[in-house]
């Protein structure tokens, strides 16, 4: 039962975060690139004002998988690094916390380019 409720919250919160972006795309003609940038920055800001942390506790992957979760990782990483190392943590925290995701994207993209051919649209 508890698992079911967790998965429903994951589904609902993840879905709503996507719907917000869909409305922005349809109503304001925001480009996908702007949506992605906006979501990451929003994730950092919402984490900074202590709103996103509780959402992650409640919705788990529903909050961490959307790109706002990438911003959450950046903000959390910088907090942790500043706590541990002081001022230098400002420079190291964000990218350290997101290194796995960024590196994975780059490496898999390179491998995909080796193995797959461009398809006519």
């Amino acid at each position: 039962m508890e698992t079911l409720i967790t998965y429903l919250s994951v589904f609902a919160v993840g879905g709503v975060l996507c719907v917000i972006a869909q409305i922005l795309i349809d109503k304001t003609k925001m480009t996908p690139a702007r949506i992605l940038v906006g979501y990451v920055v929003a994730g950092v800001v919402l984490t900074a004002v202590k709103l996103y942390g509780p959402l992650v506790k409640f919705a788990k992957a529903g909050a961490t998988v959307p790109l706002t979760g990438f911003g959450y990782s950046l903000a959390q990483g910088v907090e942790k690094a500043v706590d541990e190392k002081g001022l230098i943590g400002v420079l190291t925290g964000g990218l350290t916390a997101t290194a796995a995701g960024i590196t994975a994207a780059i490496v898999f993209a390179f491998l995909a380019a080796l193995f797959f051919k461009s398809k006519p649209k």
Binding site: G14, G15, C18, A33, K60, L91, G93, A109, A112
Partner: protein, 146 residues
């Protein structure tokens, strides 16, 4: 028929039939489902004994891997056409924005083709995300001094 009516008919003909509701429903269930898949991987890795810290990194890496494969075989584009923000907003959209230009621009060369174009959307995302984290880090550091 007066001008207003003429215009109304014209506008109705050219405006898609309230696609926003359909778009939102598609975005909701596809986006929600991708998050559920992420949660399932998270639970799976934890059940295998992965730490909280490791799981937090493995889940996005797994979804990025799957998005890369789906992009390569051309399935991602077909889903994304209908799902809109449902595939864009989850980390899969970020992965697709790196993988698709890598595949499409390989022919233009390894350095300025693949090498540069790979960051055409990821570049701004990483730039403004990092910038925001540095600004927040500075504020967090200064607040912590008092």
């Amino acid at each position: 028929m007066n001008m207003d009516e003429n215009y109304k008919k014209f506008a109705e003909r050219h405006a898609p039939k309230s696609p926003i509701v359909k778009d939102c429903l598609m975005a909701f269930w596809v986006g929600g489902l991708i998050c559920v898949i992420g949660q399932a991987f998270s639970d799976f890795y934890k059940s295998r004994g992965a730490s909280e810290e490791t799981t937090k990194m493995l889940v996005p890496v797994t979804l990025i891997f799957l998005a890369a494969i789906f992009t390569g075989i051309g399935v991602f584009d077909r889903i994304a056409k209908h799902a809109g923000a449902g595939t864009l907003v989850p980390i899969t959209g970020f992965a697709n924005s790196v993988v698709a230009p890598a595949i499409d621009n390989k022919a233009e060369g390894w350095i300025l083709g693949l090498g540069a174009k790979i960051f055409i959307i990821a570049g701004p995302v990483i730039l403004y995300g990092t910038l925001a984290s540095v600004i927040y880090g500075l504020i967090y550091y200064i607040v912590g001094l008092f």
